[in-house]
């Protein structure tokens, strides 16, 4: 009896456990959900970047800067008066301008010489009587036109033209590419076409070491080695202590391993058959490398160059240390000039208080920088897609 019972139980157990209908797997679903969130976090990061840079930049462009017009009220005014007179001399005012007297914000509706007709209590400011001889401030905003075409960046006196910063960034990047592109291509061709296996096994790790050195060390190198060298060669009077040339050259060295390793990968991906065909037609090694392999690897090399440019534009510590601390609109690489990234670092070092024009302005610069690198990234993906040569 007992035996039968256990047998039946066992059969029942088996029948139950071999129920092959699909059951919901809650644990698995939770895990997949978590993994999806991990993946989606990267999208959130991008959204966060765009949102924060965008909203702070918006504040930057809508924030009003109060400028002393050097004109004063001639008589005291009460709460109700909308028409009053101010002194003649001082900066120009126009209809539509926003002015501030003490803490009250007003808009000029009509203007007749020094007699103003205003709308009072704008932007929820309290309407109050004002005594005579009080200063009138004129509200000013940074316009997009001024931002993109102004040639002076000087937050203290309300000048926000980004050109000097962009110009310095482009100068260091161009110098960097002038160093890194020929050298990097030379290294890549040498390693992939000429070098023996033994030479490669020594040279490649050295370049990898170069790629692993932190950028602040390169900054130190620029200031304590490159600048003195440049001053030694070109003379102390021509070369400033802080200059874009030294920073640019060192950035070039910094991105050299990036250019060379990406280009070398591209060259190595070109099939042997192409090289052998070229040799078969009597081409020399150089002709094979330059006329056959290089064009075949074009998309990879173009990608390397674009990634390198975007790295050079975004590079911060080298320029922060060696390029100088003060925006300057100059095309002379031996003079000091502050780049976009250098400016952000200098302004945000130390306790930067929130909601100041400085705080907002670095986000506007950051947004500009973000779009520049994003554009390069998109171009990069297009180039790779368009010019990619697919081999068996």
């Amino acid at each position: 009896m007992t035996v039968e019972v256990t047998q039946q139980d066992a059969i029942g157990d088996f029948a139950r456990s071999s129920d092959l209908t699909r059951r919901p797997r809650i644990r698995e679903a939770v895990i997949v959900g978590f993994l999806f969130i991990c993946g989606a976090l990267s999208v959130l990061t991008t959204v966060g970047i765009v949102y924060e840079l965008g909203s702070e930049s918006l504040l930057f462009f809508t924030r009003r800067l109060w400028e002393n017009s050097n004109r004063q009220l001639t008589d005291s005014i009460g709460k109700e008066e909308t028409q009053f007179q101010i002194t003649q001399t001082g900066s120009l005012l126009a209809v539509g301008d926003v002015i501030r007297i003490q803490n009250e914000v007003m808009e000029i509706v009509e203007l007749d010489g020094a007699i103003l007709v205003v709308k009072r209590g704008l932007e929820e400011s309290a309407i109050l009587p004002h005594p005579a001889d009080i200063e009138v401030f004129r509200g000013d905003r940074v316009t997009l036109g001024e931002f993109f075409t102004g040639t002076s960046w000087n937050p203290q006196i309300g000048q926000f033209g980004i050109l000097p910063l962009v110009n310095a960034t482009l100068m260091t990047s161009i110098i960097a590419m002038a160093v890194a592109l020929p050298l990097g291509l030379g290294v890549a061709i040498y390693l992939s076409e000429y070098a023996s296996t033994r030479a490669r096994s020594i040279l490649k790790p050295i370049l990898e070491v170069l790629a692993g050195i932190p950028t602040v060390v390169y900054g130190y190198f620029a200031l304590t080695f490159m600048t003195p060298s440049l001053r030694f060669v070109f003379g102390r009077d021509t070369v400033d202590i802080y200059n874009t040339a030294a920073a640019g050259i060192v950035i070039g060295i910094l991105i050299l391993p990036l250019v060379s390793s990406m280009s070398e990968d591209a060259l190595n991906a070109v099939p042997r058959a192409l090289r052998e065909a070229a040799y078969g037609l009597g081409a020399t090694k150089l002709e094979t490398a330059v006329k056959v392999v290089l064009p075949a690897a074009f998309s990879g090399i173009a990608a390397a160059v674009i990634v390198a440019i975007s790295r050079a534009i975004g590079e911060t510590m080298v320029v922060a240390i060696a390029a100088g601390a003060g925006p300057a609109f100059t095309f002379n690489p031996f003079e000091s000039a502050e780049t976009m990234t250098g400016h952000i670092v200098r302004i945000s070092g130390g306790d930067l208080s929130y909601d100041t024009i400085d705080y907002n302005s670095i986000f506007a610069i950051g947004l500009m920088l973000f779009f520049m690198t994003l554009l390069l990234n998109v171009i990069n993906q297009q180039v790779v897609r368009r010019f990619r040569e697919v081999y068996e």
Binding site: R27, E28, F34, L35, F36, C38, G39, S42, V43, T45, I49, E52, L53, L183, G186, V187, Y190, L191, Y194, L203, I206, L207, V209, L210, G212, I213, P214, T215, V216, V217, Y218, G219, Y220, F221, T224, L256, P257, T284, K285, L286, E287, G314, T316, M317, A320, I321, T341, I344, V345, S348, G349, Y354, F363, G366, L369, F370, L374, N377, N380, Q381
Partner: protein, 422 residues
């Protein structure tokens, strides 16, 4: 006849022209080969120059001037080294202000201090050595005559001492305003704390995202967006991440990152979000794309037959991933993570933006402490105009490079071990 002869000369001319051209082409080839070789050598030379430059600044002579010479402090012919505690305290009392004396007493009563400690105080506050000029290792070795001449001419009161700016004291003493006493202990601990937070934050999420993309994600719009996005994020300049960290971790989440919400703020009165945890999470966001891309590659390299075997035995997808794919991909994932971490250790710009402290001497005590890190310290010392700060910056660079080198070496070892097993 003349036609044949003519043909012969034409053929000879063609051949000689051909040979000339071949020689020419080979000559050009050789020249360019040299050019390519030279550009490679330039890369190597630059690395050499960089390392030389750092070593050159780390060692060398310095002209040091003491405010009071130690010999003049000797009483009755007993030098500082031979004095007992009471005599040392007497010297301190005679030479420093009462206010300073009271401060020393508050830190630790005089009678409880060791003679060694007292001698240190005398050296620091009474003798007060001051570096007037430093020379590089190269100048110290090869141009010693010029160096001595300059010393006698410009710094007659100073004595010449050979310095190794990096030594054990440099690694174990905290930051100080005086380059002779400054160390990188605070910075090293700050770096380690920050990296700890970075890893705890970025590793699980990064690997999770990689698993999702490689093992679960169907080829639909959302997943394509995620993929493209990760590639784009890897190209965003690091300083932008710093601004994101400043806006989100430091400012918006201030209550959390300052520790105030947990009652754990290091100093409740001045607590703000510029803490280790903000810095660590900012760096975490920065290296996450790198971790994801590396982990994706490692997971992709796991042979499909393993997955199929697991499925064949009735394993669910997660069981397959957890018990078969991950263990096999782990060495690759770890290698990629170590490389990403060594990138994070060297990052400076985002941390400056997030708000690294310019000067702290206290060791960080937890994730809600104010922080400085090794690269930040290097940056701040390099930015100082005085030459002796360049010397200690070079010493700090050596510490940083040793740290990075050991990390990279462990990554290489891991990779090699993994290769043997397969």
């Amino acid at each position: 006849m003349s036609v044949i002869k003519n043909k012969g000369t034409v053929a000879a001319a063609v051949v000689s022209e051909y040979v000339d051209e071949i020689n020419n082409r080979h000559r050009v080839g050789r020249v360019w080969r040299r050019v390519f070789q030279v550009s490679t050598i330039v890369g190597v030379v630059v690395l050499g120059a960089l390392l030389f430059n750092i070593l050159n600044q780390t060692f060398g002579y310095a002209a040091v001037k003491n405010t009071i010479e130690p010999e003049s402090l000797a009483v009755d012919g007993i030098s500082l080294e031979e004095m007992d505690k009471d005599q040392l305290i007497g010297i301190l009392q005679a030479n420093v202000s009462t206010g300073l004396m009271r401060r020393f007493e508050n830190d630790e009563p005089m009678q409880d201090r060791s003679a060694e400690d007292l001698r240190g105080l005398i050296l620091e506050w009474v003798v007060e050595p001051e570096v007037q000029k430093t020379w590089s290792l190269f100048e110290s070795t090869f141009q010693k005559d010029a160096l001595l001449a300059e010393l006698h001419e410009k710094y007659p009161e100073a004595s010449l001492q050979f310095f190794s700016w990096i030594d054990l004291d440099f690694v174990t003493t905290p930051q100080s305003a005086n380059p002779l006493r400054a160390g990188v202990r605070t910075a090293i601990l700050g770096s380690l704390w920050t990296i700890l937070i970075t890893v705890l934050f970025a590793f699980p999420i990064g690997v999770g995202a990689a698993i999702y993309l490689e093992e679960y994600a169907a080829d639909n719009l959302i997943n394509r967006i995620i993929r493209t996005n990760i590639n784009n994020l890897a190209g965003v300049p690091s300083i932008i991440y710093g601004m994101l960290g400043l806006a989100i971790f430091v400012r918006t989440l201030q209550a959390l990152t300052s520790g105030a919400a947990f009652g754990a703020a290091a100093d409740p009165t001045s607590a703000n979000g510029r803490t280790i945890i903000s810095a660590g999470m900012t760096l975490g966001l920065l290296i996450m794309p790198l971790i994801i891309i590396n982990a994706q590659e490692a997971i992709r390299a796991v042979p499909n037959s393993l997955r199929q075997a697991s499925f064949g035995l009735g394993g669910t997808r997660w069981q397959t991933v957890w018990s078969h794919v991950l263990p096999n991909a782990l060495p690759g994932i770890l290698t990629g993570t170590i490389l990403a971490i060594s990138r994070a250790i060297g990052e400076t710009a985002p941390l400056v933006v997030v708000g690294a402290s310019t000067f702290i001497t206290k060791d960080p005590s937890g994730p809600f402490s104010k922080f400085t890190t090794l690269p930040i310290q290097i940056y701040q010392w390099t930015a100082r105009p005085q030459a002796e700060f360049r010397n200690i910056a070079a010493a700090a660079i050596i510490v940083l490079l040793v740290l990075l080198l050991s990390m990279n070496a462990s990554a290489v070892l891991l990779r090699n071990r993994y290769r043997k097993e397969i």
